[in-house]
Every structure is written in structure tokens, then in C-alpha cells.
């Protein structure tokens, strides 16, 4: 299989002519302990092109690029830059070779100024003053050239993510990078910001720079790339010219079989309101207002989808309802107010009241990675009188029950004694779902249900959510995947900057309209 794909890669990139590839990777492999993140990967990127890389979470995209940038060392393989085999033992070597990288998680010093971040590692001498002056001048001309305006004296933690991303790009340009790698740059941007970024990238390409773009969004791939490589489970499965492919084909390449993106469901039959949220406000630890008066309600037997670009308050909303964060305002559950602050605004009380919560970040929050699956099967419900007597827990009974549950939810392997960290992402998610759904909550809060989960598991998870809805429960679904929201929801609300921009019935929603609302443009049909 690997051989075939390597062939495919060669065919695709051979076409442009006798040019030397800007980058050629040969047989790159990398393992993190027992996890083989990259397996014998070969790839060529032509100069002056934008090369996309797609693949599921954990496919090894970031790892591959980090190897190219010298952040990780490959176990095997060779890197050829502009025709010359080059050793890249550290980032210094990559920078020297003309490579710049904008990481998925920015590598900025938060309490330094923009200027200090730019010169870090690229200073001219032992003293700072001359370097700062030089960088200030360079910044000015770069800004004019590429529409990359940032205040050089602003402190990083005070500026928005979009601006921070520009700093990262400027860092690379300041070091005279010819090859620019961007790892999921649009995940944190509004559609408008993303458009701006793409304009800049096209500019750079037209200047002759080579760009590698990692993204999950097939739409972006189709829009901007010249060539695209697909990774799956650590392997490079194909490289194709963008003009010669389609989103359906790419999706199939990504997961290895035909993908059915639609969800089978019957129309909802909503009952009485289960949860009514009124004027919810939240100020986070840093003093920033994250929710600015959010109101909505969900009825029994209904899925409310909450769409929005990450970081607009949807995480906080889930945490408030899940009892992890204090807030002001009012929340009625089955007509009864639930406390939003004080000792009873915690996860235990919420669960007792009938609210279940599948958190966005299952590895950091939903599970204790070092606990066995059986221990995780009661996580959050460990005070339930049914699973023990007095202060003691009935470990044997919990273990038994967990084993049956794992079988029902098709967790693989169904061994409750394995620690959570030994399961793959999709199976971890099933463990969480099983725990939260099985108790038949009145309200299920569910964040990013299928993040990092393969298509087979996605289908299963979606079925479970719909089944719960059909059992007359209320569901609040938060996802950054618009497709998922549109497929599962009965009603869709869009959140922007801590406010609900508007609400539309799912069958009347269009991706375009939702996209506008996600960017803060309010819709005529606001609820």
C-alpha cells in the first residue's frame, strides 16, 4: 500500500516540469514510545506552490511538519531542500535552510512584546537595543508589503489570536523564510480573518514562496491549494492535484472507505421546555467577560446545536451548565432554578439534578487518563449511593457493570481494566458517552462529540445522540464542525463574542448564513 501511494505522489508532482522540488521528504519515520506517528513518509513540494496536507486527528501531520522544522528528530529518513540533502537536527538548522513554521499552538512568549518575540533567536549581537531598532524598521516594510499590520510594542497576551498569528508569520518572514508551514491556521479564525489570511498566502506564493498548509477543512483545501497530500494513521496515503480531485474523494482517502456524511433521523417531536437559560453572564479568571447575556431554551426531545468559531464563549457555556464555572443569570431545569454559584454549583449537584455532560476535552476533563476504564465508568457519579455503601465503593460491582457497558457501546477492546490512556480517541469518547448517556439524563450537554473520532465511530455516536433525543431528552450540542451541527440539530443557534447572534430551525439554515453570523454579522431572522 505504501508503495502505491509513493507512486501516486510521484505522478502528481512530476507534472509541473523539470523543476527541483523545494522540499522532498524521503522515508520519514517517527515513533513516540509505542505510538508510530509517522511511517515511512515520502513527499515532494514544488516551489511557488501551496501544498495542502489533510488527515484525521492523530494522523501524524503535525509530527511530520515538526520534523521538517527540526522540532522533533525523525527516527529514519532524509530531508532534501532545494535539491540538497539537509540535516535538520534542530530548528536553527531549519531556519537556516529557509523554513518557517506557524504552529497549531503558537510558540510566542506571552508577556513579551511583538518586537521582542520577533527578534528572539534572531538578534544581531549581544545587546538588544540595535536588534530591536532593526526589527522595528523591518516590521514596517513587511507590514506594508503583505498587509500584516501589528503594533510592534503590544504585549502578546493583550492582542487577539488573529494578530498573534500574524506575529508568527512575521517571525518567519523576518528570518527570511522561503518555505512557510502553517499548521491548522484557520481553526482559531473567523471566516473573515481566514479570508484575509488566504489573501496573504496567495501574495506570498506569488512572490515565489512555498507554502505548506495543514487543515481539516476540505473547503479550504479546494479553495487555495495547488496540490494536496492525504495522511492516515501515520502514513501518506495519496498526493493529488487539487484541480483533479473532489471533497468526496479526499474524504474517502482520509478515512479509507466511502463516507456517508448524512445522519438518518426523523423529525423532532418537542415536548415541554427542559432547560431555560436567561441572561447568562460569565467573567473568567482573567477578568474578561466570556458570556454577555445568553438566553435560550431547549425542549424535551430536541437537539439545539450551538455553532460558532472556537473561543466565542461556547466552552464557557458548557462549563457553566455543567457546574464547572460560576455565572450570573438564571437557569431553570424543568422549571426549577439551579444554582449558578456557591457550593452547589458543581458537577455533582448538576448530575444529581439530571444534567449529563460530555466535555469538549475528554482527555483533560472527561477522563482520568491513568484510571482504568472501570474507574472512569463512574467518574463524576462516584458519590452515587448505588455504587457503594457509605464511604466505600463496590469496586467489583462497578467493574462488572463497566464491562457490560463497554460491550453495549462497542468499546474496543472491551477490557475495563485497561487505563483510559490505552484506548484510541474514538474509544475514549465511547467510554465517556456510555457513562453520561446510560443514566438517562434530562439534559445532555455535549461538546465536540466527534473530534478526533473516525467515521465509523462518528456514525455510532450520532446514532446515540439521536436515540437519546427520541427518548424525549433535551440535548445541547456544541461543535465547531458546521456540518455536524447541521446534520444533528433541530434548531441551530450561533454564538459570537459571548452573545447569541441568532437562532434558525435546522431545516431552514444555510451554511452561508450561519457563516456570516459566526463572523458577527447578525441575521435578519434573529430569535
Amino acid at each position: 500500500m505504501t508503495g502505491q501511494n509513493a507512486n501516486g505522489a510521484r505522478q502528481a508532482t512530476a507534472a509541473p516540469g523539470p523543476q527541483v522540488p523545494a522540499i522532498e521528504l524521503r522515508g520519514i519515520s517517527k515513533a513516540f514510545g509505542p505510538v508510530q506517528a509517522n511511517k515511512d513518509i515520502s513527499m515532494r513540494v514544488m516551489p511557488g506552490t501551496i501544498h495542502g496536507i489533510i488527515g484525521e486527528n492523530g494522523a501524524g501531520k503535525s509530527t511530520l511538519m515538526s520534523i521538517l522544522y527540526g522540532f522533533y528528530k525523525a527516527d529514519a529518513g532524509e530531508i532534501v531542500i532545494g535539491g540538497n540533502p539537509t540535516l535538520i537536527p534542530d530548528s536553527q538548522a531549519a531556519i537556516t535552510a529557509g523554513i518557517g513554521m506557524v504552529f497549531q499552538h503558537f510558540k510566542l512568549v506571552e508577556n513579551f512584546t511583538v518586537l521582542e518575540n520577533i527578534i528572539l533567536g534572531a538578534e544581531d549581537g549581544g545587546l538588544l537595543r540595535p536588534s530591536l531598532a532593526k526589527a522595528r524598521a523591518a516590521l514596517k516594510s513587511l507590514a506594508a508589503e503583505y498587509e500584516l499590520n501589528v503594533d510592534p510594542d503590544a504585549v502578546i497576551e493583550d492582542i487577539g489570536v488573529g494578530q498573534q498569528q500574524r506575529v508568527e508569520i512575521l517571525k518567519a518572514l523576518y528570518r527570511q523564510a522561503d518555505i512557510l508551514i502553517l499548521d491548522e491556521p484557520t481553526g482559531v479564525l473567523t471566516p473573515a480573518e481566514a479570508d484575509h489570511l488566504f489573501r496573504i498566502l496567495r501574495n506570498l506564493r506569488d512572490e515565489g514562496k512555498t507554502i505548506i498548509l495543514i487543515t481539516h477543512k476540505l473547503r479550504e483545501i479546494m479553495e487555495i491549494t495547488d496540490t494536496v497530500s492525504v495522511m492516515r494513521r501515520g502514513e501518506m496515503t495519496a498526493t493529488v492535484k487539487t484541480a483533479e480531485t473532489s471533497p468526496e474523494q479526499l474524504a474517502e482517502l482520509m478515512v479509507g472507505r466511502k463516507v456517508l456524511l448524512r445522519v438518518e433521523k426523523t423529525p423532532a417531536t418537542p415536548g415541554k421546555p427542559v432547560v431555560e437559560v436567561e441572561n447568562l453572564r460569565v467573567v473568567d479568571a482573567a477578568g474578561i467577560e466570556r458570556l454577555r447575556g445568553v438566553s435560550f431554551s431547549i425542549r424535551a426531545g430536541e437537539v439545539l446545536g450551538l455553532a460558532g468559531v472556537a473561543g466565542n464563549g461556547q466552552s464557557e457555556l458548557l462549563e457553566v451548565l455543567g457546574g464547572m464555572m460560576a455565572a450570573t443569570g438564571q437557569v431553570l431545569l424543568n422549571g426549577q432554578p439551579i444554582p449558578l454559584s456557591g457550593p452547589h454549583a458543581d458537577g455533582q449537584s448538576r448530575r444529581a439534578a439530571g444534567i449529563a455532560h460530555v466535555p469538549e476535552d475528554r482527555q483533560r476533563k472527561g477522563l482520568i487518563m491513568d484510571y482504568a476504564a472501570w474507574e472512569n465508568s463512574v467518574f463524576g457519579y462516584h458519590r452515587d449511593p448505588a455504587i457503594g455503601r457509605g464511604p466505600l465503593m463496590h469496586n467489583a460491582a462497578i467493574l462488572d457493570h463497566a464491562e457490560q457497558q463497554m460491550q453495549r457501546f462497542d468499546v474496543r477492546p472491551p477490557n475495563p481494566r485497561l487505563p483510559a490512556k490505552a484506548f484510541s480517541g474514538g474509544n475514549q469518547q465511547k467510554v465517556v458517552l456510555a457513562r453520561e448517556i446510560e443514566r438517562g439524563p434530562d439534559l445532555l450537554l455535549i461538546g465536540q462529540p466527534t473530534r478526533g473520532v473516525d467515521i465509523g465511530a462518528i456514525e455510532f455516536i450520532h446514532q446515540q445522540i439521536i436515540a437519546l433525543r427520541d427518548a424525549g431528552k433535551a440535548i445541547l450540542l456544541v461543535s465547531v464542525e458546521l456540518d455536524e451541527i447541521m446534520a444533528l440539530s433541530d434548531r441551530i443557534a450561533v454564538i459570537f463574542d459571548g452573545r447569541i447572534m441568532g437562532e434558525v430551525p435546522a431545516d431552514q439554515a444555510s451554511a452561508q448564513e450561519l457563516g456570516l453570523m459566526m463572523a458577527g454579522v447578525s441575521s435578519g431572522k434573529a430569535a
Partner: protein, 321 residues
Amino acid sequence: MDLMTILQVLDSTVRLATPLLLACLAGLFSERAGIFDIGLEGKMLAAAFFSAAIAAVTGSVWMGLGAGILASLALSGLHGLASITFRGNQLISGVAINFLAAGLTVLIAQSWFQQGGRTPALLSGGRFGGITLPGAETLREVPVLGPIYYELISGHSILVYVAFACVPLTWWILYRTRFGLRLRAVGENPEAVDTAGISVIRLRYAAVLICGLLCGIAGAYLATALQAGFVQDMTAGRGYIALAALIFAKWRPWQALYATLLFGFLQAVALRYQNLDLGFITLPVQAMDALPYILTVVILAGFIGKAVPPRAGGEPYVKER
């Protein structure tokens, strides 16, 4: 209280603040680079012993100073090995170093000198004497300023002046040089430093070794300037006080000076007055002894504004889990 008494207390403050200041700046370099160090105490102790021992044997205080610094550097290297190379727990490594120094100094002292864990008393060549600054004698008679210059500013050992000079020097290195920029960056976000093409490991080792150097001077000062020889456990918790001062100073050099002077002053007062009569209440000597520690807790509790440590502090830099 008359001027002379105040001057004497302040003079004593300067003497007692000096080791704290050196240790505090040592901690500043290390912690600014993201390596927490509760082993300041142990490094000072080791330096105190080796400086006194070598000074006693060779009769040269400078040889002693060198030996003290080397000993402290060795322990720093150990801390670096544990917390940088092997990514161990920095707190545990610090605790181990404190124990190691506490035990080894006595063990070696006993084996070398057979004086129950002390070094022989140092003769004048083996000690740092006071330096009379130019004009001190002549200006002595000038009212107010004369005594201040003569009693308080002049007459300390060279290491005191070194310690105080380290404050502006540290500030300059930290905020005006490339090394300082990188050092601060590596304590805030080592990945930023790594991806900028700078070796995190080398930077952190450099910081840890500077820390060792300064602790070495602090220890040598204790044994060869403040005292005339080493006695068991002579640092007596100064390393911890220096850490507290560092937090109080929010990891900044000038504030470190003020904080250590404050702690030095508290110690000077506790030394001078057995029971401090405040008019309405008499503080027993134990309360005075405990005051720096109590103050530290109060400071940590954040009553003096929240002290935010370097963000990457205490965490080993792990790229591959």
C-alpha cells in the same frame, strides 16, 4: 534610639542581607529560566564549608572562595542533570541537594579536621576583612553623613560590595542583553525558544550554573567574611528566606534588593533585641526569629499583590511524552 544605634542595626542589616541577596539573585537567574530551586540552602552550605576548609588549609581566602564556588557549581550541575537532562522533579531534586549538603559537609569536615564537623577558625589571611572606603576616616567627623558613610557604607568586606553591584548587573543582563531576553523567554515558554532555534537545554544549564556561582559567593561570604570558619548547618534557613524574598520581589532584581534588605533588617533586629518591646506588646525572641517566616507566608498569601512566577517554572521541558 539614637543615630548610632540605628546605624549599627542598619550596618548589621547590610551584613545579614548580603548572603540573602546573593542567594536571591541566584534563585532569580535559575527561576527566570524556568528551573525552580529550593536547593539554594544546600549550595550555600556546601560553598560555606569548602571555602572555609580550603581557606583554612591554604591560608588564602581567594582559594577558599574559588573552592566554595566550585562546590556550589557541582551541586548546580547535579540539579541541572536531574531537572534539565533527566526531567526530574525540581522540588525533589532541591530537597535532595539540601540534604546532601547538610550531611556531606559535616562528614567531610569531620574526616578532614576532626573537630566535630567544623573547620578550624580562620586566621586573618583566610578571611575577607573589611574595606575602608576612601575618605571614610576623614569624613567620619562630619555630622550625620560622616557616621553614615563611615559606619554603614564603608568597612564591609569586598563580597558585600560585589553583592550589591550584582543588582544593577543582573538588571542589565536580564533586560538589556540577548542572553537576558532568551533567559526570560525560556522561563516563560521554552517551546518559543526552541522553535526560534535556540537550545533550551544550554540556556537552562547556563542559568543554573550562574545560580551556582552566586550561591557559591553567598556561602563563601558566610564562612569567610561574616564568620571565621564553618560550623554545622551555618546557613540556618537562609536559602529558604532568599526564596521567599525572591517571590516577594516577584522575580525582579531591584525588588530583590529591597526584599532581602527587609529580611536582613528583621534578622538584625531579632539578633539585637532579645524581646522587642513595642509598647503595647512585648514580642518574645522566638516571635522575632519566626518573623521572616511568618512574613513569607503572609506575602505568599498574596496580601502584597499576586506574585506570578515564570510560567514554565517548575516544569521540565518535555517534547516527547
